[in-house]
């Protein structure tokens, strides 16, 4: 017991407890873990998003000095400056922002005029700037001295050589498009073409040449034929090498003086420094991508190992989530404690994942999965955890150790990495223990349920085929494994899922979730919203107008909105006044500029109907550069092979310049081709001017509007067509009645029978049920083997029908009565004989055929010598005389019978026939069944009074015929052509179905037979006193009229074989199988299950009647039991509960509270359990999860009638009808009415035959319904 071992034990114990906890309360624990994760990740919100975007920092202009190159002071005030704010910037950038408009706007101006003359002013401005010289006491300073001198462009940019400055100051303006040559500009017929000639054709996000030269985002420039702003703006960009405050100041003052901007409120008090991060090129990305590929391969190979669980993908996802959220938690926690991550997250992330790893998770899964399957889930989890606890702990400790070593390398980056990794490891451990374990437990639980259905019964498992890791279960099974393997054919699992084609499933899914509808609706709403918002007369305009009125800054922000001149009150009615605001000082220089006209030269005609927008300056103009692409400056500098990566530039406050031009200037600046090329006639022509002039701008505007409306209309039409199309598609593809109940435990009410919830009435079928009439009273028991159908009514008559044609083959009346149809003679003779023996008590050796109970009590007497009585009957009319010779005559019996019944000429004497006739009539009369009619087409014998004849003949008292004596039939089974009847008297009879002959019987126990099972040569009878009798049938031709067999525990088993072909032996008796009457009995797959009123179920092995399990779990008497070849066992009880059991281990798999009141019947398909209860509900449950899928409300009194035809076709009985349901979706497929008088009787019982016919007892009638059409539909 070293320390290690003790530690180990402790750890494993702790893990065990923890596993129990996790598996017991999965949901709360998962919730708790989720909360923890969220809480730990909360600090991440404050973390700046990673990216390579530039970072800004502003300093006041006043007293600005470039920061010192050495970063001494950095330590001192770390918060004041960012780390990168060290040393001089790469460059200072001065933008001169020019806004210009032609005002007042005149009708006859063209769209080109908006920007042609403003652009022409750029040349003057550039000239002015270039020539600006600062003269002060220290001398003169020209632009050349302070600006950034650039050299050659990069070799790859030759085509830009003429456009970008080389070998000189870096000064950019739109004029560069024309090499700063005004003449060239003036001669250019197509300005826009020139400007856009270098625009990239494809979509490009980074800065284009136009952006670079204009210095404003493209849509702000106003250089477009379709602009409605009528204001052109551009910047002239100056790049300085050094910061020379005086020079800049003088430049600003001069420009402001020359071109005042009256309503400009720029404060111009801060410098903005923009720092650019390191750029990531492809070269850098490739290793990163490689790392990620390796990472994904790692995750793939890891998660592939997850096996033997219900949902591999689910668990793999959980594993990945565990790792990822532990990483997030680690970062979050580190941030919380003040550690700011400096490493590039994307780079170290894969390494972190790899270091933390998925190993523990996999180990956990493997260990849990390999625990014995038959344990409870809780215990499995706990065991799995504790068995791997030591290795997990060791692993974690080792990794922590390694990482701690790494921490002492004292390299800051590695230390940080290690810190993250340590926290990540710890939180990963936490998540593994809480989150993953819990998810695993849920998964295992699901698997248990699902697996139960597929699990092979032990008989079919060869020892070598044992799955690994489940040894314990088989050990346990070893004791009970039967010696003879029972072959069971399992449906291959692929078959189960194949029922529905894939595309149908998709369609069903769509239909169920109404995905298409919802998408269409959402799309429509969004679309309408967009329409409303963007419509020219719509919301946006209105909102904008609202904002305008309230904005104190005027309409600066509203410039883009076209406002009809009539809408807003004209603030400056006088055009002259608007051109020259009163407070603007007149500038002498302005007039010296070339090309400028006297300012008072108004428009030639004085007519202006649209007002040009006033040039306004808003606060957003001050930092217009922010709207540029953040790659703008790096791109510009990269042209000169200057990188901004990890460096910064300083942006000086913008200098605003306002240019106002009057129409005449605009006209004069016009190129002769403008008029022609644009859609307005040349301006100078007076005639054309006046006629078509108004069309110019208005035309452009109208054009724009028309386009917009066209687009809108087209879009609307397209949308409508699309919607209609989708609707049609939807209609075609989706069934009208999609299965709503599939979603939850919805209840489907079947009110008016043929009607669905949706008013959809299923097709009235052409199926005509075949009605089998012949019973006088209500039918009680039904049995079938596919070919034949046996029914038994309350009166005790047994009818045998051909299941295909519906013919009545045989009728076996109750022991006291004559058979009325073909086989009657034999029966009657039999009875005759009995009566004789009864009445006279002359024969102590009474045959066990059908005598009343009291004779049975004479058990100790030697069993009947005469096994073959029926034969005698047709031969002999005087029983007494023939009696001694009866035994000899046994052999040819069947022949005789046939002869007797059909031809009646073979052996019989004439008078025997007479006697029979008399018998029958008498019998009927005595039984007070006057209406009994022969249903079969066979030649009927006239009914003879039976009792009379008997009494006459034998003189025996009629008391022998009291109905109680024979006992009513309580149970009925049919196989081959043998009918097994269990009577309340405790008598077991085997009849030949075709012949209507009693083959053998056994009645040594007087306790009533409540249930019977007849499974290949084996008969099991459950009795009222709780005992079980196992019989075996032997077909033999031996002569022995009497067989006696005693066996083991059975006291004195007397077997009376009355026919030459069939003998029935009592092989075992389980005297006290249950304390109370056995109510349910089923057998399949070599197992026999009994359910009793003592609340327990027992499982027996059919071969040797050995009791394997006693299943306890119900709190009421068992009412119904289901077991099938796949060893699924389900039971329902009076407590309304349904239990699913594992027949292999005897453990309860699930327990569902199904009904209020008794569960009356129960059946299973491969995927569901169907139960019906006294509450007239039929509920369909998912077999693996035990979740209620839906339920069907039944008519009163037919709760128990249900049957499953195929895996997905359910039949239920109703008031005078049966209904077919699609089991998977709960759809009502068809309703078949059984008779005209549908109001009368509910269908009480439904029996499904092999050929998909259904028999339901419908009062005293049987109905045979073939369902081929339904089946076709399903397939």
């Amino acid at each position: 017991m070293t320390l290690t071992e003790r530690l180990r034990e402790k750890i494993s114990q702790a893990f065990y407890n923890h596993g129990l906890l996790c598996a017991s309360y999965p949901i709360p624990i998962i919730l708790f873990t989720g909360l923890c994760i969220l809480a730990c990740c909360y600090p991440l919100l404050k973390l700046p998003l990673p990216g390579t975007g530039p970072v800004e920092f502003s300093t006041p202009v006043k007293d600005y000095l470039p920061p010192p190159a050495d970063s001494d002071h950095k330590q001192g005030e770390p918060s004041e400056h960012p780390d990168w704010y060290v040393g001089a910037p790469v460059a200072y950038i001065q933008q001169i922002y020019v806004k210009s408009s032609v005002s007042p706007w005149h009708k006859n101006l063209l769209a080109v005029d908006v920007f042609r003359s403003p652009l022409s002013r750029a040349f003057q401005l550039v000239e002015e700037i270039r020539n600006h010289v600062l003269r002060d006491s220290s001398g003169t300073k020209s632009l050349e001295e302070v600006c950034l001198q650039v050299t050659d462009l990069l070799p790859g940019l030759r085509k830009l050589r003429n456009l970008l400055p080389e070998h000189g100051c870096l000064l950019l303006s739109p004029g560069n498009f024309w090499q700063n040559d005004w003449e060239r500009f003036h001669a250019d017929p197509d300005i826009i073409g020139t400007i856009h000639q270098h625009e990239p054709k494809t979509l490009q996000t980074s800065a284009t040449l136009k952006d670079l030269l204009f210095g404003v985002p493209g849509k702000y420039s106003g250089v477009s034929l379709y602009t409605r702003k009528r204001m052109a703006s551009y910047t002239i960009t100056l790049v300085f090498q050094h910061y020379h405050a005086k020079f800049l100041g003088s430049l600003r003052a001069r420009l402001m003086l020359l071109h005042p901007s009256p309503n400009c409120s720029f404060r111009a008090e801060s410098l903005v420094h923009v720092h650019f991060k390191e750029e990531i090129g492809i070269a850098e990305l490739i290793p990163l991508v490689t790392t990620y590929i390796i990472l994904f391969a790692y995750i793939y190979f890891s998660t592939r190992k997850i096996d033997m669980v219900k949902s591999k993908w689910g668990l793999a996802l959980a594993a990945v989530v565990t790792v990822l959220s532990s990483l997030l938690m680690s970062v979050g926690l580190c941030t919380l404690f003040g550690l700011t991550p400096t490493l590039n997250g994307g780079e170290i992330f894969p390494y972190l994942v790899v270091v933390i790893g998925l190993e523990n998770v996999l180990v956990l899964t493997k260990s849990v999965v390999s625990t014995p399957v038959d344990l409870e889930v809780k215990l499995r989890i706990a065991q799995g955890l504790s068995s791997e606890s030591w290795s997990i702990m060791k692993n974690v400790a080792t990794e922590l150790g390694i990482i701690l070593i790494g921490y002492f390398t004292l390299v800051p980056a590695i230390q940080e990495f290690c810190l993250f990794a340590v926290v990540g490891l710890v939180s990963d451990f936490f998540l593994q223990m809480l989150f993953f374990t819990t998810v695993l437990s849920i998964d295992i639980r699901r698997m248990e349920l699902a697996d139960l259905n597929k699990r092979l019964p032990p008989e079919s498992c060869l020892p070598s085929a044992k799955p690994v890791g489940r040894p314990a279960r088989y050990e346990r099974q070893l004791a009970v494994r039967p010696s003879t393997p029972h072959t069971i054919t399992l449906q291959p699992s692929s078959f189960r899922n194949l029922r529905l084609p894939k595309r149908l499933r998709v369609v069903y899914f769509l239909a169920r979730t109404r995905l298409a509808q919802r998408l269409i609706m959402a799309g429509t709403v969004v679309w309408i919203g967009i329409l409303v918002y963007t419509d020219p007369a719509g919301l946006r305009t209105y909102l904008a107008a609202q904002v305008t009125e309230q904005s104190p800054l005027g309409e600066g922000s509203l410039a883009p909105i076209p406002v009809p001149s009539g809408v807003l009150p004209a603030s400056h009615p006088d055009p002259a006044f608007s051109i020259f605001p009163p407070d603007a000082p007149k500038l002498p220089e302005n007039q010296t500029l070339p090309g400028q006209l006297p300012e008072h030269a108004g428009p030639a005609d004085g007519v202006h109907d649209s007002r040009a927008p006033e040039v306004t300056w808003g606060p957003e103009d001050e930092e217009l550069w922010r709207k540029l692409s953040f790659r703008h400056w790096p791109t510009l500098f990269s042209y000169y092979n200057v990188t901004l990566a990890k460096r910064y530039i300083s942006l000086l406050p913008v200098i605003p310049v306002t240019l106002r031009l009057n129409p005449r200037e605009a006209l004069e600046g016009r190129h002769p081709q403008d008029g022609r090329s644009a859609w307005a006639p040349p301006g100078p022509l007076p005639a054309g001017l006046w006629e078509t002039g108004p069309k110019g701008p208005a035309g452009a505007q109208a054009h724009g509007d028309v386009t917009l409306y066209k687009v809108a209309a087209l879009g609307l039409a397209a949308g409508i067509v699309l919607v209609l199309l989708l609707l049609c598609l939807y209609r075609v593809l989706c069934p009208r009645n999609y299965g709503q109940p599939g979603g939850g435990p919805g209840r489907r009410r079947r009110g008016e029978l043929p009607c669905d919830d949706y008013g959809y009435s299923p097709p009235e079928t052409e199926i005509v049920p075949l009605v089998l009439r012949g019973h006088l009273m209500d039918i009680e028991c039904l049995a079938s083997d596919g070919m034949l159908l046996v029914s038994c009514c309350l009166a005790g008559h047994i009818c045998v029908w051909d299941a295909q044609t519906g013919d009545c083959l045989t009728r076996i009346p109750r022991p006291g009565h004559r058979r009325d149809s073909g086989g009657g003679s034999a029966f009657e003779a039999q009875e005759n004989w009995e009566r004789l023996s009864d009445g006279g008590k002359t024969s102590p050796e009474e045959p066990g055929d059908s005598p009343p109970l009291r004779h049975r009590t004479q058990g100790p007497l030697p069993p009947s010598l005469f096994g073959d009585q029926p034969d005698l009957t047709c031969l002999i009319d005087t029983n007494f005389s023939v009696l001694p010779s009866a035994s000899e005559l046994t052999q040819p019996e069947p022949r005789h019978r046939v002869g007797c019944s059909r031809a009646q000429d073979s052996v019989g004497y004439d008078f025997s026939r007479l006697v029979q006739r008399v018998y029958q009539e008498e019998g009927l009369a005595a039984a007070r069944m006057p209406s009994l009619r022969p249903p079969s087409p066979r030649p009927m014998l006239p009914q003879a009074p039976e009792d009379d004849g008997l009494s006459l003949e034998k003189g025996s008292p009629p008391l022998a015929w009291a109905p109680s004596a024979a006992g009513s039939i309580w149970s009925l089974e049919l196989q081959g052509n043998l009918i097994v009847v269990g009577r309340s008297s405790g008598r077991l009879e085997v009849w030949d179905a075709i012949e209507g002959v009693l083959c053998c019987s056994s009645d040594e126990v007087s306790s009533g037979i409540t249930a019977l099972v007849f499974l290949d040569k084996r008969i099991v009878a459950a009795r009222l006193n709780g005992s079980l009798d196992f019989f075996s049938l032997e077909t033999h031709t031996s002569f022995s009229p009497l067989q006696f067999r005693g066996r083991g525990s059975s006291p004195s088993s007397s077997v009376y074989s009355s026919s030459n072909t069939v003998a029935c032996h009592l092989t075992h008796t389980v005297p006290c199988a249950h304390q109370k009457p056995i109510t349910a009995l089923k057998a399949a797959a070599g197992r026999l299950v009994t359910g009793s009123q003592d609340h327990t179920l027992r499982v027996f092995r059919l071969e040797d009647s050995c009791c394997l399990f006693t299943l306890q779990g119900h709190s009421g008497a068992i009412t119904t039991v289901y077991i099938d070849q796949t060893m699924v066992l389900a039971s329902g009880g009076q407590d309304g509960a349904i239990c699913l059991w594992d027949v292999l281990t005897g453990s309860r798999v699930s327990h569902m509270f199904a009904h209020r009141g008794d569960v009356t019947s129960l059946t299973c398909t491969t995927s569901c359990v169907i139960s019906s209860g006294l509450d007239d509900l039929i509920s369909i449950w998912d077999r693996s999860t035990g979740i209620k899928l839906y339920s069907i409300q039944q008519d009163l009194g037919c709760g128990a009638s249900l049957g499953v035809i195929s895996d997905n076709l359910l039949v239920t009985g109703g008031q005078g009808c049966v209904s077919f349901w699609d089991l998977n979706y709960g759809d009502l497929l068809q309703t078949v009415y059984l008779g005209k008088n549908s109001e009368s009787q509910p269908a009480r019982q439904i029996l499904v035959l092999d050929n998909a016919a259904i028999v339901c007892n419908f009062g005293s009638e049987l109905s045979l319904v073939y369902v081929p059409s339904v089946l076709e539909k399903l397939d």
């Binding site: 390191e278 390796i294 790692y298 190979f301 390299v411 990188t643």
Partner: protein, 262 residues
Amino acid sequence: MPRLHDHFWSCPCAGAARHLSPPRARSAPATRVGGMIAATRSVPAPGAPDAEPEPRSPRADAGSWHRHLVQRSLVLFSVGVVLALVLNLLQIQRNVTLFPDEVIATIFSSAWWVPPCCGTAAAVVGLLYPCIDSHLGEPHKFKREWASVMRCMAVFVGINHASAKLDFANNVQLSLTLAALSLGLWWTFDRSRSGLGLGITIAFLATLITQFLVYNGVYQYTSPDFLYIRSWLPCIFFSGGVTVGNIGRQLAMGVPEKPHSD
């Protein structure tokens, strides 16, 4: 420590071929890394089905055995080439900022023979490991699964990444750190004496060859700081050897390990 790589891996992006770097030796580590990647991709698909574990092979007929050998070496070779290229990129990316096109060009322009050398070295090492295992009679049992191999590869790339990106105070610290990392790699994924021995041998030989090449002028370091490069070369070689050995062993184990997933 960016300088290291710059120097070592040569590849001036501006096109100035001042220094030809990759010595043959270096090919070994790079080879391995690349190889692993290739292995990840190619092995599952075509390589795996054919790759027969070497220990099992003696029984198999010679033809298929040879075929498997060839296939394995091909896989290893491609792994080596890819890793060489990728790690080379990792080293030169310092210089790369603005014009990726030219960078890509320089990768292939400088020392074309380096990737093939790396591939060959990877193939040799990857075949050598399982071979030695079988000769020593102690088949490698530790963590035989592709997930672990992937992990190992990721750690190897991580070591390279760290050596390329981190700034160390001095060479001693650098080499100590890298040595610790390499040993950690070996201990985590290998833990076999043969692996350790072979790794050390490879590291020694590769470093020697590199020096030899440099002395003969075939190959040049970019920086005069000779000690600096020398301090990390052996570690990289060692971990590369271990990694490629890991891949080789996994490849030698062949298919049976794989299909269990289904």
